[in-house]
């Protein structure tokens, strides 16, 4: 039987079943696959059984992942194929001539002889498209990191600084973040970039988080990333006072925002600073807002309680925690009661 997908012929393959023969008469967890998916998958399985590392196998993985993006086995297989094809290409290149620079598009490819640069570049673009269609996915970004690793090895002789992050990474990240500004996988990828390419002193990372915080000061993912950029490197490249001013300003814009308060507390702890210094700052929110009962900054009162504790004002600290538990933050009544007991007993 003739079987074609796209430009490729698969007629020589014997399609394999999706389910084990052992489970033939079982209905539990049996998915009634569409005919289309069943056909695709049965050829996919035939290719995997042969461990065929070819352009047509690559194309098949694209079709399957397009249907089921979480199919980690197919992702792993795809990685093997790409590694093989790009590796071969790299060997060919060394022997023969330079590569063409054809953009992505699997069906243009002519089989052997496609340059590793083309192969890997096309992977990145494809990865980006799949990411935009699948916001929550554990495979895509990890796969992208594997491809970047291959590029650095095969194209840049291990020199990671040759990889153009601005061109290859920032645009896709921005698009993803625009759709979901707290996408965990995307932020994790951005953190990986900072770590791998040592971007702790990059102005772009600060600018990126600042821009997102201007849009939405409650974007906790942006705060978290900023913390990593500034305080997660070996040396700090940002003026500490300036950063403290920055977060204080953000708190003033939104005094009930836990993200910015957590960030401020994080800085003080990380740098071993004395939170007693923040008394004046905290007072602004205590005094100013005392009248507006329903909109008090729980976080400001909490910090005030802690400041009293270091000042050894046990009774005052206890009173603040009591106020929090009984009035301002009743859902956490048990938590504040614990804090009160602890403060008063210390």
């Amino acid at each position: 039987m003739s079987q074609k997908f796209g430009d490729y012929d698969y007629s020589d393959l014997e399609p394999l079943p999706l389910d084990s023969p052992e489970t033939d008469d079982i209905i539990l967890c049996r998915i009634m696959y569409s005919e289309e998916y069943k056909t695709l998958m049965s050829y996919m399985r035939a290719l995997m059984a042969k461990n065929e590392l070819s352009e047509r196998a690559l194309y098949m993985t694209e079709l399957v992942i397009g249907k089921v993006a979480a199919h980690y086995t197919v992702w792993e297989y795809r990685y093997k194929i790409v590694k093989e094809l790009a590796g071969e290409g790299a060997a060919d290149n060394a022997a023969e001539n330079a590569a063409d620079n054809a953009p992505d598009g699997l069906q243009d490819s002519q089989g052997p002889g496609v340059s590793p640069s083309t192969i890997l570049q096309r992977e990145l673009s494809w990865c980006g498209r799949i990411a935009l269609e699948n916001e929550k996915n554990y495979q895509i970004w990890h796969y992208r990191q594997l491809i970047i690793g291959l590029m650095i090895d095969l194209l840049y002789g291990g020199d990671s600084s040759s990889y153009d992050i601005e061109k290859e990474e920032y645009p896709i990240i921005s698009k993803m973040i625009k759709d979901d500004e707290k996408n965990y996988h995307v932020w994790s990828h951005r953190r990986w970039l900072v770590e791998t390419f040592k971007l702790h002193s990059s102005k772009e990372e600060l600018r990126f988080t600042e821009e997102l915080l201007i849009q939405d000061v409650r974007n906790n993912s942006a705060w978290n990333h900023r913390f990593f950029v500034i305080f997660g490197g070996k040396t700090m490249n940002r003026d500490l006072d300036e950063e403290i001013e920055f977060v204080k300003l953000q708190i003033e814009k939104s005094p009930t925002n836990p993200s910015s308060w957590n960030y401020l507390r994080g800085i003080y702890k990380k740098m071993g600073l004395n939170i007693g210094e923040l008394k004046g700052f905290v007072d602004k929110f205590i005094g100013k807002e005392k009248e507006k009962e329903d909109n008090l900054s729980v976080q400001a009162f909490e910090l005030l309680g802690e400041i009293y504790e270091i000042e050894n004002e046990k009774r005052k600290a206890g009173e603040v925690y009591e106020l929090l538990g009984k009035k301002l933050d009743v859902i956490r009544v048990n938590y504040w009661e614990q804090r009160r007991l602890l403060a008063e007993s210390n």
Binding site: D19, S20, E22, T23, I26, I27, L28, C29, R30, I31, M32, Y33, S34, M48, K67, V68, A70, H71, Y72, T73, E76, Y79, Y138, H142, Y184, S188, R191, E195, Q215, D216, V217, R218, N219, N220, S221, N224, H225, F227, F228, G232, K253, S254, P255, T256, N257, P258, S259, N262, G266, K269, K270, K292, N295, D329, V330, I331, R332, N334, Y335, Q338
Partner: protein
């Protein structure tokens, strides 16, 4: 929010949820307390039984790499509700799971012909545990699985989910649960793992998937449960910043909803009743504090806002039920109804992971623990009802 604060996406979405939840609570209050919704036990059992007894529609192809999860979620939810699994389903579970076992790696894949995957192996083993399938469990090749786990171990102490796969706290948790259930933990397997887990605690107090990512409920559960597999609660206390974790955990509960969010400034979601709630039960043992969360408010959120209109449990009002939420919301409901205590003697005999025992909460001030809403107590480490894993491990020792 402050009246002067700019209306951003975060605030708009938060207000939307607060309003929809407030409407539900107002309605209930208006109708009188006798109209307070009970756990719709029969309906939810109808839901899980329906899908345990019939094939899944083509739309489920999206879960084609998650077959063991589907089985685990459905079985676990059924049992938590007090339901039973008939022998026909049990035999199908065993056949299915065994058909996913990968010959050369020894682990379990997401379906037939797939690579061994830590999460699939975790869910697959739990499925065998839930049907009490001692025989098939013992057929698994522990030596092979041990070698496979070791092959996924990374230099920094963490694990990859599968060959060339991503590494995070989930992977570590699944690996440790697998190794613990099969009793194949040794020094080499866990070298550096506790330190790596501890390095995932963020400045906010919760744990991230990988070091320096954002604190997240799911990963925090995985990190704390992992540490509690390796060590006693008092030892765990020394390894992490407990105070900041307690603070972060308590902050996950929102005043109007009573439900839990997974991250700072994100919305509540019923599934965090388990990831954050279930973790809080362990944290209570670690910190020595009772009631890190307000159980009665969480239970109210679950009963009033997380029950699907027809059946099944859900993320938040307006959502449709799915297997994942049905299971994890029920796990969270269980946490509301029981404390966990760490029994040193039990732990000495069977290992730290097996040292926990539940105590039903009788104090009406803590939670309205009515019989009609009662679900089974949880094993706080493995994510199954209490006792299932103990039994399996006890028989192995014989």
């Amino acid at each position: 929010m402050s009246p002067t604060e700019k209306l951003t996406d975060t605030i708009e979405r938060q207000l939307e949820v607060e309003n929809s939840v407030q409407d539900i609570y107002d309605d209930i209050l208006e109708q009188g307390s006798d109209k307070f919704p009970p756990l719709h036990r029969k309906a939810h059992l109808r839901y899980t039984n329906l899908f345990l007894h019939r094939p899944l529609t083509p739309a489920f192809s999206k879960l084609d790499a998650s077959h063991p999860w589907i089985i685990y979620w459905l079985l676990n939810a059924t049992l938590l509700l007090g339901g039973t699994i008939d022998s026909e389903v049990k035999s199908q579970v065993a056949t299915d799971i065994l058909s996913y076992v990968v010959e050369d790696e020894g682990g379990i894949g997401g379906g037939y012909g797939q690579l061994s995957h830590l999460a699939s192996t975790y869910a697959g083993l739990l499925s065998l545990v839930l049907i009490g399938d001692k025989e098939d469990f013992q057929k698994l090749d522990r030596t092979k699985i041990y070698r496979w786990l070791l092959s996924l171990k990374r230099e920094n102490g963490s694990f990859s989910m599968h060959l060339d796969g991503e590494a995070d706290c989930r992977a570590v948790y699944c690996a440790l649960c697998i190794a613990s259930m099969l009793d194949i933990i040794d020094d080499e397997l866990i070298k550096g793992t506790a330190d790596w887990l501890a390095s995932c605690q963020t400045y906010e107090g919760g744990f991230s998937g990988e070091p320096s990512d954002e604190a997240h409920g799911g990963y925090t559960y995985c990190a704390i449960a992992s540490l509690c597999i390796l060590f006693s609660p008092s030892k765990v206390k020394e390894l992490i910043d407990v105070d900041s974790l307690v603070r972060w955990t308590a902050s996950r509960q929102y005043p109007i909803e009573g439900g839990l969010s997974g991250r700072t400034n994100k919305l509540v979601d019923g599934c965090y009743s388990h990831w954050v709630g279930g973790m809080s039960a362990l944290l209570e043992c670690v910190s020595g504090e009772r009631q890190v969360l307000r159980r009665v408010s969480l239970q109210n959120y679950i009963l009033c806002c997380c029950q699907g209109e027809t059946f099944g449990l859900i993320d938040k009002p307006g959502c449709a039920p799915d297997f994942y939420h049905t299971n994890y919301v029920l796990c969270g409901l269980s946490m509301c109804q029981y404390y966990q205590v760490y029994d040193e003697k039990k732990a000495e005999r069977q290992g730290c992971a097996f040292g926990y025992r539940s105590v039903r909460i009788g104090d009406g001030d803590v939670v309205d623990n009515f019989e009609r809403n009662k679900v089974l107590p949880m094993d706080p480490i493995f994510g199954v009802p209490e006792g299932y894993v103990d039994w399996l491990r006890a028989t192995r020792k014989d």
